[in-house]
């Protein structure tokens, strides 16, 4: 078999291919075909392998979170002495209330929501405006601007950590939410996916609007934005999760505990806090991204499928 020569150009369109194929799979196939499955032994092996995979995935991915949920409402000594037992000394609902008030999880949650909201707004505005100018308006300096933005994708982030910290100090932004809102909104990747989406909008629409007398701002507001809600959603969700997960930068940029988000707050209270209360706090920190993920699974998986993101 010579299939080597058919390696295709890899483009961002893979996300679309994924979206198109998932769910409409009855007549499609991957490696294993319906005729393979018509053989009894193959079908049996296939089903066992699939069942084992799902079981394994459930234990690996959901297992730790379910254990966290159990332990968050258990007594500390139960969790430490019998990690696999179910509430030998009864369910401790008050852990959640204690976490919210005693170890300031309530304050951290409010901070996290503020920080994340600001970052998402900055990220979406930056990606939409730059994507629109680069993909639709295309000024003369467009290619240079594009190259400058995309070059930052290929420069390892470690180089700007220290100078960014010093810059934030110079601007007097340290210990303000602006110190996390503004730097984290700057993402070449968001600009890239927004730009590529805008490029798929038929240009005839813009030409027609221009003939009708619409200016660039009107075209953005009345044509581009209404047609782009799916991709804006993807960018907003990616920015939301990145912000909620961020640790090192808010640790540096927000030294005052009363301004810190959940990620930083949990890490600082962890050494002293009672284990049961701490785990209740951890559960609270997980619930919001979990709800957002379960609500917008499709957008997340589409975004992640077209992005190449590796934990660092």
């Amino acid at each position: 078999m010579t299939v080597d020569g058919t390696t295709r150009t890899r483009t961002a369109g893979m996300g679309d291919a994924w979206r198109k194929r998932v769910g409409t799979r009855s007549l499609e196939r991957s490696n294993v075909s319906d005729s393979d499955l018509s053989r009894r032994s193959t079908r049996f092996t296939f089903r066992v392998v699939i069942a084992v995979t799902i079981g394994l995935l459930f234990v690996i991915s959901a297992g730790p979170l379910l254990w966290l949920a159990k332990s968050a409402i258990s007594a500390t000594q139960d969790t430490l002495a019998q990690p696999f037992a179910f509430w030998p000394s009864g369910v401790q609902w008050h852990n959640l209330v204690d976490a919210w008030t005693q170890i300031r999880i309530g304050q951290f949650t409010v901070n996290s929501l503020m920080i994340t909201t600001g970052e998402v707004i900055v990220a979406v505005i930056a990606a939409v405006t730059l994507g629109y100018v680069l993909a639709v308006l295309r000024p003369r300096y467009g290619p240079i601007l594009n190259a400058c933005i995309m070059a930052t994708l290929f420069i390892p982030g470690v180089i700007s950590l220290i100078p960014l910290y010093l810059t934030v100090i110079d601007l007097g932004l340290l210990d303000t939410f602006w110190a996390v809102w503004l730097p984290n909104g700057v993402s070449a990747f968001n600009v890239l996916i927004m730009k590529q989406y805008f490029e798929t909008i038929p240009r005839e629409l813009f030409e027609a609007a221009k003939v009708d007398g619409a200016g660039p701002v009107r075209i953005l507001w009345s044509i581009v934005l209404p047609m782009s809600t799916p991709i804006i959603g993807v960018v907003a969700l990616l920015a939301f999760v990145a912000s909620w997960k961020d640790f090192l930068w808010p640790l540096l940029a927000l030294p005052t505990p009363s301004k810190q988000p959940l990620s930083v707050g949990l890490s600082t209270i962890a050494p002293q806090a009672d284990l049961a209360v701490l785990m209740a706090g951890m559960l609270i920190a997980v619930v919001i991204p979990l709800i957002v993920f379960l609500t917008f699974q499709k957008q997340f998986l589409t975004g992640a499928g077209s992005a190449g993101a590796i934990k660092g």
């Binding site: 078999m1 390696t7 890899r10 961002a12 994924w18 998932v22 799979r25 009855s26 991957s30 490696n31 294993v32 699939i50 799902i54 991915s61 730790p64 979170l65 430490l80 990606a127 405006t129 730059l130 308006l137 295309r138 933005i149 995309m150 930052t152 994708l153 420069i155 390892p156 982030g157 470690v158 180089i159 700007s160 220290i162 100078p163 810059t167 503004l182 730097p183 070449a188 590529q196 490029e199 813009f206 990145a242 961020d246 640790f247 090192l248 959940l262 890490s267 701490l278 785990m279 951890m282 920190a285 699974q297 997340f300 992640a304 499928g305 992005a307 190449g308 993101a309 590796i310 660092g312």
Partner: protein, 315 residues
Amino acid sequence: MSSVTSPPVIPAAVAVEEVLAPSRNRRRTYRGGVVPFLIAAPAIILFAIFSWWPILRGLVIAFQKTNLLTTSWVGIENFEHVLADPLLGQALANTALYAGLALVLGFPIPILFAVLIAEMRRTRHISSALVFLPVIIPPVVSILLWKIFFDPSERGLFNTALGFVGIGPLPWLQSPATAMLSIVLVATWGAFGSSAIIYLATLLAIDTQLYEAAEIDGASILRRFWHITLPQMRGTILLLLLLQLIGTFQIFTEPFLLTGGGPNNSTLTLLMLIYRYAFIYGNFGQAAALSLMLAVALSVFAGLYLWLSRKWSKR
């Protein structure tokens, strides 16, 4: 900054030609004018202040001595000091060990899951959601959770589980021999889902006619996997390999919170050393010098990435 703590968001799936090339359609609606510039200006200013300027400034600070109050040029003194630090060799070896372990453990897992999920029909949706679930969990939460799992006593969760099959108890984070491995487990748990989803996107984009043709020729499922699935994944595998290396060499949060670099500096990584120089010893010049050296070294991988994806996109 997000590109250090969370992923360097390089689009593996995007051919470099697409990234760097201006739009293919040469028709322009607005060639110049003030309005386009005004629309882009706020975002350009953000990029200038918080992206381009820090990168340039990083090159400058590495040759300066600065303590937030005074700044003076010191030539290559920072580099000499960093290179003479006995901890540098240790941190480099630890980071390389981490990268190696993360590769051995973390690299095949997403490929395996993606290949299996691609074969699923009715259950693919739930499996994709499950595989991606750990990715949305804040690393601090998963780290604190796994720290409890790693309880070195016999009653610790992992040691209890191992006790069922007669192994252990293991010291996990408490021993230099197992600490790094424990850290890799946590980091792999948090990261394997995003790679798996990227592989899955590649797998589902494979032309099914290739499988059909091979099947008609009498190729078995395993032969089809070997001769179609793997070659078709090759591009994504190599790109994610390079991205993973770039990411793992900047590991910070997991060792910082799990061990603080211990025991005995056995989990001190390069980024933790940079953090110590800057925020414990207050020597930003030395921190910037080490950052610069690490960034230059990692740029080799980034360059390789550019070169490879350019080569492939020409096919």
